[in-house]
Symmetry: C2
Subunit: 509 residues, 2 copies
C-alpha cells in the first residue's frame, strides 16, 4: 500500500491515516449527526435518523412476530427503585442524570435557580428494569398471566465521560425488551431467541457478520445472571458489542416483587429477561462498511435506495429528462424491497453532475443513476453502485433496470456482507502461546496504533484474575465465549492451567 | 333518559352518572394505560400504545408528504438556553424537571445521595424550540439553506400538578415540528398548512370533528406571535384542544441567533414555526366516541380491525373452526386499509363466548366475528359492529364479508364521525345576550355539573379584560377565533362594545 501513489479520496483523513478522525469525517460528510451544546448529547440529523427509523421498522416487525408488544414506561425512576438491586445500582449510579427540583425561579440576579425540591430524587432512566418491574408486579398474579412479553422504544441517559457520535453518547435511543416467565428454562430460551433475532438482523439487514456468545462474569450487565451478546469486527480490527440479551434469573423479580401463583398453588418469583440494541448500531454500520470515499449503506437499511442525477444544459432537456425520471418513479412505485417502498432521491441542484454524484457517494446510497441527453435518447441509465469503485459505472436499459432492481439491490447487499465477512475472517486467528498473544496485541513499528490486532481465539481457564491481568496489560478483553464453540482441551493463554474451550479476545469499543 | 329503565352497561359508572370516573373506567376496561409510581407519569399499555403507533404512522406520512424530515435533538436543555426567550421561560419555568447532579453516591446511611453537581443545570425538555433553534443557527447561513423543515417524535416533561391519564400527564409523547423560513409569509403559510394537516387527520382518521381557529393573546403558546388550534367537543360538551400550530415570527430566531444572508446580501433573522400533537389525542379519541359499554375505535386508527371469537364444544369442532379462520386470514392477508394491514385478533381463550365478545366491545374493536358450528357449516360469520348496539348482530357470508371489508370499515368510520359531528353541532349555539350567556354556562338543577353547556358563538370586542372577566366568573374561555368566520357586526357579550365577529366560548380540558 505505502508503495502505491496515493489516490485522492473524498474523505480526509483516510482510515489508514487516522481511523478515529476518518470515522467522524464520514459522519460529517454524510450529514448524519453532530455534537450538540449539551455535553455528550448528539443531534441526529435526518440522514442518520432515517437509518434509525429503518432499524426500528425492521426490528419492530421481528419483535412482533416473536410475540412481543410495545408499551411505554416513565422516563424517571425513583431513587428507591434503583436501590433495590444492589449490583444494578452499582453499575449505573456512577453515571446518571439526577432530577432534584420541579421548578425554576428568579435568583434575584437576573437569572434562574432550581426551586421546589422533590421529596425523592428521580433518575433519568439509564435502563428500565426496575420501573418496568414495578408494572410487571402489578400485572402478574398467576401463571396464567405469564409470559409477559414487552418491548419499549425509548431514549436513555448514561453520563459517559468520553463520548463519540453514535458509539457512546450521554443520551441515546434504543429499544429494550423486558419479559417475565414461569420457568427458568423458558426465560433462558427467550434470552437466546432474542439473541438469534439480533444476529439475524445484524447479518441480513446491516450486513454486519457477528459472533454470538456469552459474556464472562466481569462483562455482564449489572445484575444479570448471564449476558449474551453479538460481537462485530470494525475495520480497525477492534470489536464492537452490537446487541445484548440478558437472563436475569429471579434477581430483578425479587427486587420488584414479581410474584405469581404457580400451577401447584405456591407463590413463586417470575424469571425475567431483558435485551436491547441502540443507535450504537449506526456506529457499527458506519465502521464495518464505509471506505475512504464515505458511507457505504446496505440497501436493506439505506434511507434511499437510488439517487438520480439529471444532467442537462437547457430547460427543454431538463423537462424531458424529468419526464423520463417520472416514468421510472411510476414503474417502481408499487414495488416493495423488504417491505419498504423503493426510495428515490432526485438531485436536480444547480451544481455540476460530478459534485452531485460525489455527494451521494459520501452519503452511501446504493445505486446512482446519471441521466443526460444520451441516456434519454437510448432509454438507458448510467448506473454507479456504491459497492463498486466510483468510476466503475455502466449503462443499463430502462427495462433491464426495472426488471432486475431486486437482483441489483440483493447483489449490493450480498457484496457488502461478503466483504465484511472476508475482512473479519482474515483477522481472526487462534493463538496458543503467551508471548505470541502479547506480540499480536502490541502494535509493530509498521502499524498504526489505531489499526492493528484482530480477534484471537485462545484458551482461558475461567479465572477472572487471568482475564483482569490481560485487560490491564494489553487493554484486551474477552469479548465472548462463542455459543457454537467446539469443546477442545488446551491451556490458559495467561496462566497455563487447563482449559476446555477457546474464547474471543480483542480490543474493543 | 331518566324515565327509561336503566340498562345494564359494561362500564360503571355511566357517562351520565359520573363522567370523569367513566373516562377512567373506559381506559381501565380497555387495558390502555395506568398510573405509574412516578407522580404524574403514566404507563401506556400495549392497547393504548398501539393507538399511538397508528397515529405516528399516519401523521408521519402526512409530514413527509408535506416535505418534512425527522431528526432527533437532546432531551436536556441548558438553563441558559431556556432563559433566552423571556415569555417562553415564563411559560415553562414554573413546572419543569431540573437535572442538577450527574451521579449518586453512598450517603453513609445505607442509601444514596446526589453527587457531582453540574456546572449548569439542565431542564428536561418541555418543548424544544430553544435547543432545536441552536442547531438551526448552525445549519442556516444563506437563504439557499431555507426552508428547514424538521419534525421530531419525542417525550417531553411538564410538571403538571393535576394529572389525568392521556389528557394531562407530567411526561407525554408527542411530535414537534420546527421550521425556519426566508419570509414572514412563508412561515405563516407553513403554520396554516400544518393546521390543515392536523384538521384532516383528526376528522379523517380519528373521526373527531374539529373547529380550526386562532387563539386569543392570553391563550397563545409562550413566546408565539400567533397560535392556531383545532378544537374538538367531548361528550360532556367541554372543548379539548387537540393540536396547535404556532407562528413564532422572528422572536425565537432572535433568541437562538438564526441568521441568514438574504438574496440582497443583508443579514436577516429567519421566520420560524412550531407545531405539535401529543398522546392527548388518545384522550380526545376516547372522550369523543366511547359509550357506556367502553371504548369505540374508528377503524382507521384501531390497533385491530377484527376480533374473532371461535365458539366450540370439542377439539374436533375447534380444529375445523380454526381452519376456517385461517382461510379468512389468508383471504385478508394482502389487503391494506389506509396503508396498514387488516389486523385480526383471535380470541380462543377458555371462557364463554359472551365474555370474550364483551372483552372486545370494551376494547373498541370495530368488527367482531363469532364463529360456531352453524357459521362453519353455512360458511358465514356472525358479525357485530362497534358502531351498532352490542346485540345488533347479523349473519354475513364469507365471500360477502371479504368482498365488502373496505365498505364495512368505511361505513363504521363514517358512522362514528357523523355521530360525533351531530352531537357537536347540536351543542353549538349562538348567544347574543349577556344574561342568557351566563345562564347557559351555569348548570341547572336537572343537570350534572360535569355535563352541561356546549360551544357558544358570541361576539367579543377583543379586550382581554372581557375575556378575563368571563373566565373568572364562569370558568369559560375563548377556545378560538374560527378561521372560516363570517364577518358580522354585533356587540360584545361582556361589555356591549362593538364587535366584528363571533368567537367560540366553552369550558375546556
Amino acid at each position: 500500500m505505502q508503495q502505491q501513489k496515493k489516490q485522492i479520496t473524498a474523505i480526509t483523513p483516510t482510515r489508514e491515516d487516522d481511523y478515529p478522525q476518518w470515522y467522524l469525517q464520514v459522519i460529517k460528510s454524510a450529514d448524519m449527526a453532530e455534537n450538540s451544546d449539551v455535553r455528550g448529547c448528539m443531534v441526529i440529523k435526518p440522514w442518520g435518523y432515517s437509518i434509525w427509523e429503518n432499524i426500528h421498522f425492521v426490528l419492530d416487525d421481528m419483535f412482533k412476530e416473536t410475540g412481543h408488544k410495545n408499551a411505554y414506561f416513565p422516563l424517571f425512576i425513583p431513587k428507591s427503585f434503583f436501590e433495590k438491586e444492589a449490583e444494578h445500582v452499582d453499575g449505573f449510579a456512577k453515571e446518571c442524570a439526577v432530577v432534584t427540583h420541579s421548578k425554576l425561579e428568579q435568583d434575584g440576579k437576573g437569572g434562574l435557580k432550581p426551586a421546589s425540591p422533590l421529596t425523592e430524587e428521580l433518575i433519568v432512566r439509564p435502563t428500565s428494569e426496575t420501573i418496568i418491574g414495578a408494572s410487571f408486579a402489578k400485572w402478574v398474579q398467576s401463571y396464567r398471566d405469564l409470559p409477559v412479553l414487552i418491548n419499549q422504544w425509548a431514549n436513555v441517559v448514561r453520563w459517559e465521560m468520553r463520548t463519540r457520535l453514535f458509539l457512546r453518547t450521554a443520551e441515546f435511543l434504543w429499544q429494550e425488551g423486558h419479559t417475565a416467565h414461569e420457568t427458568e428454562l423458558e426465560a433462558i430460551e427467550e434470552t437466546e431467541k432474542m439473541l438469534e433475532v439480533y444476529g439475524e438482523f445484524a447479518e441480513q439487514f446491516l450486513a454486519v457478520p457477528v459472533i454470538k456468545g456469552r459474556k464472562t462474569a466481569s462483562e455482564r450487565f449489572p445484575g444479570a445472571v448471564d449476558t449474551y451478546c453479538i460481537e462485530a469486527m470494525m475495520q480497525d480490527k477492534k470489536a464492537l458489542q452490537a446487541g445484548t440479551s440478558h437472563f436475569l434469573g429471579q434477581k430483578f423479580a425479587k427486587a420488584s416483587n414479581i410474584v405469581y401463583q404457580s400451577r401447584e398453588g405456591s407463590l413463586e418469583y417470575a424469571w425475567t429477561t431483558s435485551w436491547g440494541v441502540s443507535t450504537r448500531l449506526i456506529g457499527a454500520l458506519i465502521m464495518a462498511h464505509s471506505d475512504d470515499n464515505g458511507l457505504v449503506l446496505p440497501p436493506r437499511i439505506a434511507p434511499a435506495h437510488i439517487a438520480i442525477i439529471p444532467i442537462y444544459k437547457n430547460d427543454e432537456d431538463k423537462e424531458k429528462i424529468m419526464e423520463y425520471i417520472q416514468e421510472l418513479q411510476s414503474a417502481l412505485k408499487s414495488l416493495r424491497y423488504f417491505d419498504r417502498k423503493i426510495r428515490i432521491e432526485i438531485d436536480a441542484r444547480d451544481i455540476s453532475g460530478g459534485e452531485r454524484s460525489w455527494n451521494w457517494i459520501k452519503k452511501g446510497v446504493p445505486i446512482r443513476l446519471e441521466i443526460g441527453k444520451k441516456e434519454l435518447e437510448n432509454r438507458t441509465f448510467f448506473m454507479g453502485r456504491r459497492d463498486l469503485e466510483p468510476k466503475d459505472k455502466k449503462s443499463i436499459s430502462f427495462d433491464d433496470f426495472v426488471g432486475s432492481i431486486y437482483d441489483i439491490l440483493d447483489s449490493i447487499q450480498e457484496n457488502i456482507f461478503q466483504k465484511a465477512l472476508k475482512f473479519r475472517d482474515e483477522n481472526i486467528i487462534s493463538i496458543d502461546e503467551n508471548s505470541e498473544f502479547y506480540r499480536f496485541f502490541t502494535p509493530k513499528n509498521s502499524e498504526k496504533p489505531e489499526i492493528h490486532g484482530g480477534f484471537v481465539k485462545a484458551h482461558w481457564c475461567g479465572d477472572p484474575a487471568c482475564e483482569e491481568k490481560i485487560k490491564e496489560e494489553l487493554k484486551v478483553t474477552i469479548r465472548c465465549i462463542p455459543l457454537n464453540n467446539i469443546k477442545e482441551e488446551g491451556v490458559c493463554i495467561c496462566c497455563g492451567k487447563k482449559s476446555l474451550e477457546r474464547v474471543i479476545f480483542a480490543k474493543s469499543y
